[in-house]
Amino acid sequence: MNAFFRQTIFIIFLIAAWFFFSESGLVNSYLVPSPIKIFEAGIEMVSNGKLQANILISIVRVVYGFCITAIIAMPLAFIFYLFPLLYSYFSGFLAFLKSIPPLATVPLLILWFGIDEASKIALIFLASFFPIFLDTFNGLAQVDKKILEMGDTLELTHFEKIYHILIPEALPSIITGLRLGFAYCWRALIGAEMIAAASGLGYMILDAEEMARIDIVYLGIISIGVFGLVIEHTILKWVNRIFPWMNFECKAK
């Protein structure tokens, strides 16, 4: 029996148990509606296009926020690595920022950026900045000095060592940071959409709660889980295809 089969069996079992409890009346069917009702809600939301539209909006926000974060966090980590003196000024402040849960800043973000896209992007930025920044920074800092010394014996210049040795050696850690950062983006986004938004999966769930459509709440939660899973799985598959050593490096850690 392979792993996928075993995982599927458990999920089927879970749905069957859920079906049994909700249909038998052992649990409140308003709080735990039958899977069939949720399936029907799914059909309803797909046929009126709302589910796809909200998923699409959420994905666009995540990709947008993620790209902005990556473009800022990676070069910043690089600059701080190259200029440790500069980093020593910032490291305390960064440690302070790191300890603040991004959701705690939502009121400020809304005041600063309004309730439009900007505040959500800002929240995504805060949520994914540290995994990307820290993994890039640590990846660079942990490159074995012995390997850089090997570059000296080949009479490489400083720039050649950075380009040909430092970055390739730090790559596994940088990619891990990007993957983690993406997962954090997805989580933070749902939070942002539940606080102030008029679209997206998070909004869809909150709106359904207000309309007492508990089946759509379930649908939203399941969609988030399934989508997160699909995206993460797809990214992992591509990463392992493009970078064959990635699987090995992660196992080694």
């Binding site: 074995d144 012995k146 390997i147 010394e149 090997m150 570059g151 000296d152 014996t153 080949l154 490489l156 050649e160 040909h164 040795i165 390739p168 050696e169 790559l171 596994p172 970078f243 064959p244 050593w245 090995f248 490096e249």
Partner: protein
């Protein structure tokens, strides 16, 4: 003709505030086209000597001078490969300044053939065995056609068979080119097998300098071989007892 000369070279390391004499007034010259082994116990100063020759470190006292600027190749105890690059790309690192692509390709093809890694051209370091990885590092040092090869216990971590094979390859390389090799090892048999001159180091000093007069094809069961081996063991052990 001496390729390089060391005069009264000393190097002092500070370990937890205490000075440790890694090299103590070493005077030495290495001739063009020679194969010199340096043996001694760990901590005798072998690696420091090599690092100074390699200009990875500066001597605290004394001078080191090269006859002219020579291209060197270095092989460390560990392969020191870049883990995200294929064998081919790891070799290319040594040629990254070479503009002529055709030339780079030819040099790499030749290196892969010589090190027996042609089939592993596209393999990543994690897919290689220890011996293969060390062969890549040998190839990386050789593909830029060095005149001086510096080797720091390169076969120390390998199994006996791989080690024998690589020793054979190194012998072939030495004979078929006019390369100069400085080879550090703690293995006395290996030193006699490979080299023409053996330096014994003890406590940062060169305490013995022996010219190996054995024939080119050496057998470790020969009387002379065993005799020399005995002498070298004594040379390492006796000196240790003399110096407090």
């Amino acid at each position: 003709m001496a390729l390089l000369t060391l005069e009264n070279v000393s190097k002092i390391y500070s370990i937890e505030g205490l000075p440790v004499m890694a090299l103590d007034s070493v005077t030495l010259s290495i001739e063009y086209g020679s194969f010199v082994s340096v043996i001694g116990k760990s901590g005798a100063g072998k690696t420091t000597l090599l690092r100074i020759i390699n200009q990875l470190e500066k001597p605290d006292k004394g001078t080191i001078s090269y006859d002219r600027s020579v291209k060197t190749g270095t092989i460390f105890q560990e392969p020191r490969l870049i883990r995200t690059k294929t064998v081919e790309k790891n070799l290319q690192l040594a040629l990254c300044r070479e503009k002529n692509r055709e030339e780079v390709k030819n040099l790499i093809d030749e290196t892969l053939r010589m090190t027996g890694l042609t089939l592993f051209r596209k393999a990543y370091p994690f897919q290689l065995s220890g011996g293969m990885a060390q062969r890549v590092s040998l190839g990386r040092a050789l593909c830029r056609k060095p005149e001086l090869l510096l080797m720091d216990e390169p076969f120390g971590a390998l199994d006996a068979i791989t080690r024998k094979n690589l020793q054979g390859e190194l012998r072939t390389i030495f004979r078929s080119s006019n390369i100069t090799i400085i080879f550090i090892t703690h293995d006395v048999t290996e030193a006699i097998m490979l080299s023409e001159r053996i330096l014994v180091m003890n406590n940062g000093q060169i305490t013995d300098d022996i010219k190996v007069t054995l024939p080119k094809d050496r057998n470790e069961n020969d009387k002379d071989f065993i005799e020399l081996k005995k002498h070298l063991y004594e040379s390492i052990i006796l000196k240790e007892n003399k110096i407090p």
